[in-house]
């Protein structure tokens, strides 16, 4: 552990307080997050996050790899939403090179990205509910997540770390059954969301565990720099798909669900609504799927973007993911920097948790929805 990591000796403890080390081996820290809790009885008085257990130096590695070789690293940032990671990187390079991606490829990308958003939210719901003690919903969501992963596997060839896109479009066109499978899923899924909501939304215990827990005002959320559902639950209508449209998102009709007070229950409702909106987008994209090629015609074999820089952002399931790319004209980037939504959103944890009980901390880690692969990079 590095010397600037938080440790017990830095804190001043009253005689009624104790330090509880939560993680990195703990079932509810969603990976290798270490949280140091200063507890008074069960009340959280102070909290520190210690990250870096999954640090792999992705940004530095990228400086030594050619542009196509970098895409798989983006699979492994937010490993439960690999396609969204791929998309932002591929689009950043395309912007730098000035490549025009065919419309069919753009539509397919939107479909895949939105399906991946649903899987990410399903995983969030599963683990969040499990942390609060509702074990059964975990299996229900994984049943539906499996359907999407099958669709993705049939198209891309991999389930999680997909490496879905090439710079300029797709390697292959969608498999013949793709449209049928996705439509079958779309027919089935809204009923399943209703099922989850039946189990949770009006359950007294669920309400008691989420309503009023971890309230974050809109000003606070903006100050910390939160994005994604966590920000929208506080009542800020900010979604990159609308605020700085990319791909073909302006062509689709969908709403941005927002919350009122920014508590855990609002964040739950917002994500549930987002899944429904994703279905709408996929439906529209599938209905209007254009004919044509899926690969841009004029992408050179060796990718050497012209010298320059670009900052490109996408709406990932966790929030606004950004790529800052500096090219010096060679076949490797001069600098690549990722703006990870999870890392920024995690900063809210302290504000959310202080004054709540220890049992709420796991609910709050769940509600922020972090993936340590992206926090640590």
């Amino acid at each position: 552990m590095s010397s600037d990591a938080p440790n017990a000796s830095e804190h001043v403890f009253e005689h009624t307080e104790m330090l509880l080390n939560m993680g990195p081996q703990h079932p509810s820290t969603h990976g290798v997050l270490r949280v140091l809790l200063k507890l008074d009885g069960e009340t959280v008085v102070d909290l520190d996050c210690d990250i870096g257990y999954l640090h792999r130096g992705v940004e530095k590695i990228c400086e030594h790899d050619t542009y196509p070789m970098i895409t798989p690293y983006f699979d492994r940032l937010d490993y439960v939403a690999a396609i969204n990671g791929d998309l932002v990187y591929v689009e950043a390079v395309e912007r730098l090179m000035g490549v025009e991606v065919p419309r069919k490829a753009q539509y397919l990308r939107v479909i895949l990205a939105e399906l991946q958003r649903i899987t990410s939210h399903l995983l969030w719901l599963a683990t969040h509910a499990l942390d609060i003690g509702a074990a059964t919903i975990f299996l229900y969501t994984f049943r539906e997540r499996e359907e999407i992963l099958k669709i993705i596997e049939n198209f891309i060839g991999a389930r999680l770390t997909t490496h879905a896109f090439r710079i300029g479009g797709f390697e292959w066109d969608a498999n013949p059954e793709f449209e049928r499978d996705v439509r079958a899923f779309l027919d089935m899924f809204p009923g399943r969301i209703d099922e989850y909501e039946t189990i949770l939304s009006e359950n007294r215990i669920w309400l008691a565990r989420t309503v009023g827990i971890g309230v974050l005002s809109a000003e606070n959320a903006i100050d910390i720099g939160l994005t994604g559902p966590v920000l929208r639950a506080s009542g800020v209508k900010y979604d990159v798909r609308r605020a700085a449209p990319y791909s073909t998102y302006p062509e689709f009709d969908f709403e941005i669900p927002i919350g009122e007070t920014g508590d855990t229950y609002d964040r739950y409702l917002v994500r549930m609504q987002e899944m429904r909106q994703s279905i709408r987008i996929v439906q529209q994209a599938l209905d209007g799927l254009p004919e044509g090629d899926v690969m841009a015609a004029r992408v050179p074999r060796v990718i050497k973007p012209p010298a320059g820089e670009v900052f490109h952002t996408n709406e990932s399931p966790k929030g606004e993911i950004g790529v800052y790319l500096v090219s010096d004209g060679t076949n490797t980037p001069y600098r690549l920097r990722v703006r990870p939504p999870c890392f920024v959103n995690l900063q809210a944890l302290k504000q959310l948790a202080i004054g709540h009980l220890m049992a709420d901390v796991v609910a709050l880690i769940g509600t922020v929805d972090i993936v340590l692969g992206e926090v640590d990079r």
Binding site: G41, G133, I205, R209, G355, V362
Partner: protein, 501 residues
């Protein structure tokens, strides 16, 4: 670290003041009223006296016992009755219960699997039936670890306390009629509750001795939870005891047989309180905070491994069996079932003194009891895999501000209704029930009366709870939000204040 439970007591005190004192005052006032106006009430009653129908004869009980069989082998009567037979019974019982525990784990996994749209254990044996055996062997083969810095002696001894308290209770559970039960003492139910609460020592000591903060917090939660819910559970049992007029487990069953009514009909509210309380007593979801996997990793037994861990596991499931058995005995008629005697007489004739009758009757009652307990345990599992988990302070609220006031109100109203329903010459008013030498006789008018009283009790309980829990009763999300914000501010203020001091 020793101060981890700092404000547990304080938080509980806050919850109790209004909820305990007020019903207590009311009950005091009512009893005062009854003392003062006792004589006038009796006079009124003497005029309105009605004649209750004559009670039926006491139900049959087989008279033959295996003691006679043992005696015929040349053993003296006392030795046969008090040593040989109980020893055989307990050996059979122990084997049966340990097998049942192993298969409850299997059942739990299967029930969970079916609720969760999967199959559960399928690999070991046909449909996974040998899974408990494989699990047991695996656990026996594991290393028995004692963590560094643990209080070694206490750490090793804690599981023994837990399992002893659990298994020791089995002798008193009325699994069947006559010799289907090991023993029956006249303070049976009290003894059960008393010994059951010894089990908490196993948990507390395990948590303490582990030298782990997670284990300690699990133990602290567990002790607070058990102590709180024991009050509600104990008071819920008073209601049916008014009708049973005995603490002996067998006599409670006989009382229900004689009355022809399961006490759940007369005391539905008490049954609900007992059932919820027993979930908390056995650390089952939604009250499984002491071992809350997502918060405390595994709670009090986080440092245990191998067979010592398995012992805790067995103690837990034995406790589930016992609390369900108490519920079945007190509320659901125990081993009795309408028409059981008729069914037995088809096979074994009608003479209750023959060995055949005794055997068939006892086995039938054992079967009835097992089925009832199994159904109740299924409900327990069903709840576990459906509901999320309560938080610590909410659990305390539920215990002290919901269950205890309701159980107090229930005792008060039931006792009052009971008093009014008794025959005037026995100290009552309406004469709807009769205390005979065989037990309490309640005619259909009495049953109707008590059902009406129950409806009234529900209303009163709902009113009381609404008064006591203004914030948590509401379904208005904004009100819940405000309440939670207030709680948070209060906690922060307490913590800061203590810090300043």
């Amino acid at each position: 670290m020793n101060r981890a439970w700092g404000n547990f007591a304080q938080r509980r005190k806050g919850a109790t003041v209004s909820s305990i004192v007020r019903p207590g005052l009311v009950s005091f006032a009512v009893s005062l009223f009854l003392c003062v106006f006792d004589a006038p009430l009796r006079e009124v009653a003497a005029q309105t006296q009605t004649q209750a129908p004559p009670p039926p004869p006491s139900p049959v009980v087989p008279t033959w016992s295996p003691v006679e069989l043992i005696e015929s082998l040349g053993v003296s009567h006392g030795f046969a009755e008090y040593v040989v037979l109980p020893a055989i019974q307990f050996a059979v019982l122990l084997a049966a219960i340990l097998t049942a525990v192993a298969y409850l784990v299997y059942l739990e996994r299967k029930v969970a699997a079916f609720i969760q749209a999967r199959l559960g254990p399928m690999r070991v044996g046909p449909v996974g039936l040998l899974q408990p055996l494989a699990d047991g062997l695996k656990l026996l083969a594991k290393e028995d670890l004692v963590p560094q810095g643990a209080d070694r002696l206490v750490f090793l001894f804690a599981p023994v306390i837990a399992i002893t308290a659990a298994l020791g209770l089995l002798v008193l559970v009325p699994f069947g009629a006559a010799w289907g039960t090991v023993t029956d003492i006249n303070i049976g139910l009290l003894f059960l509750l008393a010994v059951a609460s010894v089990g908490v020592f196993g948990i507390v000591l395990a948590g303490w001795a582990s030298n782990s903060k997670y284990a300690l917090m699990g133990a602290m939660r567990s002790s607070a939870q058990l102590v709180s819910y024991e009050v509600a559970v104990g008071m819920a049992l008073i209601g049916p005891l008014l009708f049973a007029r005995s603490l002996s487990m067998q006599e409670i069953v006989e009382a229900q047989r004689f009355t022809g009514l399961w006490f759940v009909v007369l005391q539905p509210l008490a049954f609900a309180i007992y059932f919820i309380g027993s979930l908390a007593e056995t650390n089952r979801a939604p009250f499984d905070l002491p071992e809350a996997e997502s918060e405390l990793v595994a709670g009090f037994h986080v440092e245990y491994s191998g067979f010592r861990w398995a012992i805790f596991f067995m103690a837990e499931y034995t406790n589930i069996i016992i609390t369900s058995a108490i519920a079945v005995t007190v509320f659901l008629g125990g081993w009795s079932f309408p028409g059981l005697e008729t069914a037995v007489s088809w096979i074994a004739g009608t003479d209750p003194s023959t060995p055949l009758y005794s055997v068939v009757f006892t086995l039938a009652t054992l079967g009835v009891f097992t089925v009832k307990v199994a159904l109740l345990i299924y409900v327990v599992m069903w709840i576990r895999w459906t509901l999320p988990r309560y938080r610590y302070d909410q659990l305390m609220d539920l215990g002290w501000k919901w269950l205890i006031p309701v159980s107090l109100a229930n005792i008060l109203i039931t006792a009052l209704a009971f008093l009014l329903a008794m025959r005037p010459d026995q100290g009552g008013v309406f004469g709807l029930l009769e205390v005979t030498k065989n037990g309490l006789w309640i005619g259909w008018t009495g049953t109707a009366w008590f059902i009406a009283v129950n409806i009234a009790t529900f209303t009163v309980a709902a009113w009381l709870l609404k008064k006591l829990n203004r914030t948590s009763w509401t379904t208005d999300i904004d009100a819940l939000r405000r309440a939670e914000a207030q709680k948070r501010a209060g906690r922060l203020a307490t913590a800061t204040e203590r810090g300043a001091r």
